[in-house]
Every structure is written in structure tokens, then in C-alpha cells.
């Protein structure tokens, strides 16, 4: 068949690397890197994904067309995330009125704490 055999030795090498990277990602989570924590975690996950795709899934030894197929899924995923986030993070969120009968935006007591009111929690003041 089209796929040349990958030696078990290489599989074990990839496996060992994946295990080490798992340890690294757990270790890195305990360091305080600020917003870089997420970047580091995603970078390590990306490296692991690349190893799995290239060697375990044999894409490295596959045709160029397979490379394209393997790549476009992630390309569209990047578009999905980028456009959704650019909308969510730049939109001016208005607090939702409390139903159609509400006469003002100040909610009556007892209706605090619904998710809509907390939308701005993570924003800078």
C-alpha cells in the first residue's frame, strides 16, 4: 500500500516525547506566567498534535493532497475562532433589560445575579 512502514522505534520515540510534553504542560501550569500560561499550554498541545498527525497518523509519509485535507480543517477552525472572538471581544455589550415589562434598566431586587448582568466581569474597568 502507499504508506511506507514506520519503524516501531520511531513510534516509541514519538510516544516518549508526547509523555514528556504532558509532564511539561502540567509543570508549566503551576508557574505563574500571567496570560502566557494559556499560550504555553496551547503551544505544547499544538506540538503534540503535530507529532501525532505527522507520525501516528502517517501524514508525513502521505501525498500532498492528504496534507491539504489535513490542513484545511484547521484552517477553517482558525477562521471560526478568529472571527467569533473578534466579534465577541469588540462588541459593545449592553445589559439586557429584565423582560419586556421592564420600565427601566435598573433591575428590581431579587433578580440580581442572572448571567446577563455579569457579562462585563472579565473586562478591564
Amino acid at each position: 500500500m502507499s504508506h511506507p512502514m514506520v519503524s516501531p522505534k520511531l513510534y516509541f520515540l514519538v510516544f516518549a516525547t508526547l509523555m514528556i510534553l504532558t509532564g511539561v504542560t502540567v509543570g508549566a501550569a503551576y508557574l505563574d506566567l500571567g496570560p502566557l500560561n494559556t499560550v504555553v499550554a496551547l503551544t505544547i498541545a499544538g506540538c503534540k498534535t503535530l507529532l501525532v498527525i505527522l507520525y501516528f497518523m502517517h501524514v508525513r509519509y502521505s501525498s500532498r493532497l492528504t496534507w491539504v485535507f489535513a490542513g484545511v480543517g484547521f484552517l477553517w477552525l482558525a477562521i471560526l475562532i478568529a472571527f467569533t472572538m473578534s466579534d465577541m471581544r469588540t462588541r459593545s455589550w449592553q445589559p439586557a433589560p429584565r423582560g419586556w415589562t421592564a420600565t427601566s434598566f435598573s433591575s428590581p431586587p431579587g433578580q440580581e445575579g442572572t448571567p446577563n448582568r455579569e457579562v462585563s466581569e472579565g473586562r478591564s474597568p
Binding site: M1, S2, H3, M5, V6, P8, Y11, F12, F15, L18, M19, T22, T25, V26, A29, Y30, L31, D32, L33, N37, T38, A41, L42, I44, A45, K48, T49, V52, I53, Y55, F56, M57, H58, S62, S63, L65, T66, F69, A70, V72, G73, F74, W76, L77, L80, I81, T84, M85, M88, R89, G113, T114, P115, E118, V119, E121, G122
Partner: protein, 214 residues
């Protein structure tokens, strides 16, 4: 499917073309899978950006030890799956059956640990719904995190269950000597699917378990 050496389906010119079509077919399916899970990841990213504090708080209630063990179990199952494909390519029937069984075993171990984790969440009232309780001002947002947790790990577990079912069929067919060095496409394709499920977990583990640990 009739005989093991009726390897070439009649619509293909040669085994090379058949193998190429099989590979492209599974990748076309995986593109839909990437975007299916991608929707969940996008939703997660959006709400985590909105409620970073609540998501970090909620993440502390996940068991990092069980999650870490499961990550290693799943990576090990990917290794046994890759070795199963290698055994199939080499035409080694016994090794193929053994590695497929090992992969199924590791998959079941993963699901077993997941069941234990889910059980803890029920006991701690962290399952979204009426019984959900969480102290502090972020209860609603923490519930949102756990909705993502159960949706994402639940869909992942469903993919594992489907994978184990497919692997079980492969074990029977391998045992009956239906695969050979000339025809092992089902093993190869199942391997690609299984590794994809592994990749989903590679992202789920840090994004769900490892936020705000420092």
C-alpha cells in the same frame, strides 16, 4: 470483504489509488470532526474570555491527577494503535489482534476513570442543573464552565465508545485473518480516527484541568 485477497475494489485502478482514496476519505470526515469540536472550543474560548476568574475557580474542582493519568492512558493507547497498524502492515496476525485488544483495554480504562470523575462531580453537586450548588459570587459562570466540561468530555467519551466498538469489529476480522500486508485499510483508517480522538483530549486536558493552577 469476501476473501482476504480480494484487496482491490473494482472501482479503483490499482491498490495505490485505493489507499489514497481511503486516506482522503477519513481526512474529509475528520475535517467535519475538527469543526464539530471546534464549535465547542470556540464557545469555550468566548466564555472563558468573558469570565476568566470563574473558569479558573471551576477548573480547580477538576481532578488533575485523574485527568493526567487519563492523558497518559490515551497517549499509550495511541501507541498501541500505531503498533497495531504496523503489525497489520507486516501481516502479523497475532500481534495485530494483541495490539488491538491492548488499545481497547486502554480505551476502557480511560472511560472507567472518566466515570469515576463524573461520579465525583455528581457527589459535589457540580453537574449543571437543579442540584448545582457552588459557593461564592460566580456560581452561574461556574455552572457554565461545567456545562462546557460535560459537553466536551461527554462528546469526547462518545467518540471513544464508537472507537472501541469499531476496534472490536476489527479484532474479530483480524482474528478471522481478513487482513494482510496487501489489505489493511480498515485498520489504518481506524487508527487515524483513534489518533484524532487522542488529539481532542490533548487540547481538552490543559484547557479544562490546568487553568489558573499557579
Amino acid at each position: 470483504m469476501s476473501e482476504s485477497h480480494a484487496a482491490l475494489a473494482h472501482q479503483f485502478d490499482d491498490p495505490q489509488q485505493q489507499a489514497e482514496a481511503v486516506t482522503l476519505g477519513i481526512w474529509a470526515f475528520l475535517i467535519t470532526e475538527v469543526l464539530f469540536f471546534g464549535g465547542l472550543f470556540t464557545g469555550y474560548a468566548g466564555y472563558r474570555a468573558n469570565y476568566p476568574q470563574a473558569f479558573a475557580e471551576a477548573s480547580h474542582h477538576l481532578d488533575i491527577l485523574l485527568g493526567g493519568i487519563n492523558t497518559m492512558v490515551l497517549i499509550s493507547s495511541s501507541l498501541t494503535m500505531a503498533l497495531a497498524v504496523h503489525a497489520a502492515q507486516s501481516g502479523k496476525r497475532q500481534a495485530l489482534v494483541a495490539f488491538l485488544l491492548a488499545t481497547i483495554f486502554l480505551g476502557v480504562v480511560f472511560l472507567g476513570i472518566k466515570v469515576i470523575e463524573y461520579g465525583h462531580k455528581f457527589e459535589d453537586h457540580l453537574v449543571p442543573g437543579r442540584a448545582f450548588t457552588f459557593p461564592g459570587p460566580h456560581a452561574q459562570q461556574v455552572q457554565l464552565f461545567f456545562s462546557f466540561y460535560f459537553a466536551m468530555t461527554g462528546m469526547h467519551a462518545l467518540h471513544m465508545i464508537i472507537g472501541i466498538a469499531i476496534l472490536s469489529v476489527l479484532v474479530v476480522r483480524a482474528w478471522r485473518n481478513r487482513f494482510s500486508a496487501a489489505y489493511y485499510a480498515p485498520v489504518e483508517v481506524t487508527g487515524v480516527y483513534w489518533h484524532f480522538v487522542d488529539i481532542v483530549w490533548i487540547f481538552l486536558f490543559p484547557l479544562l484541568y490546568l487553568i489558573g493552577r499557579h
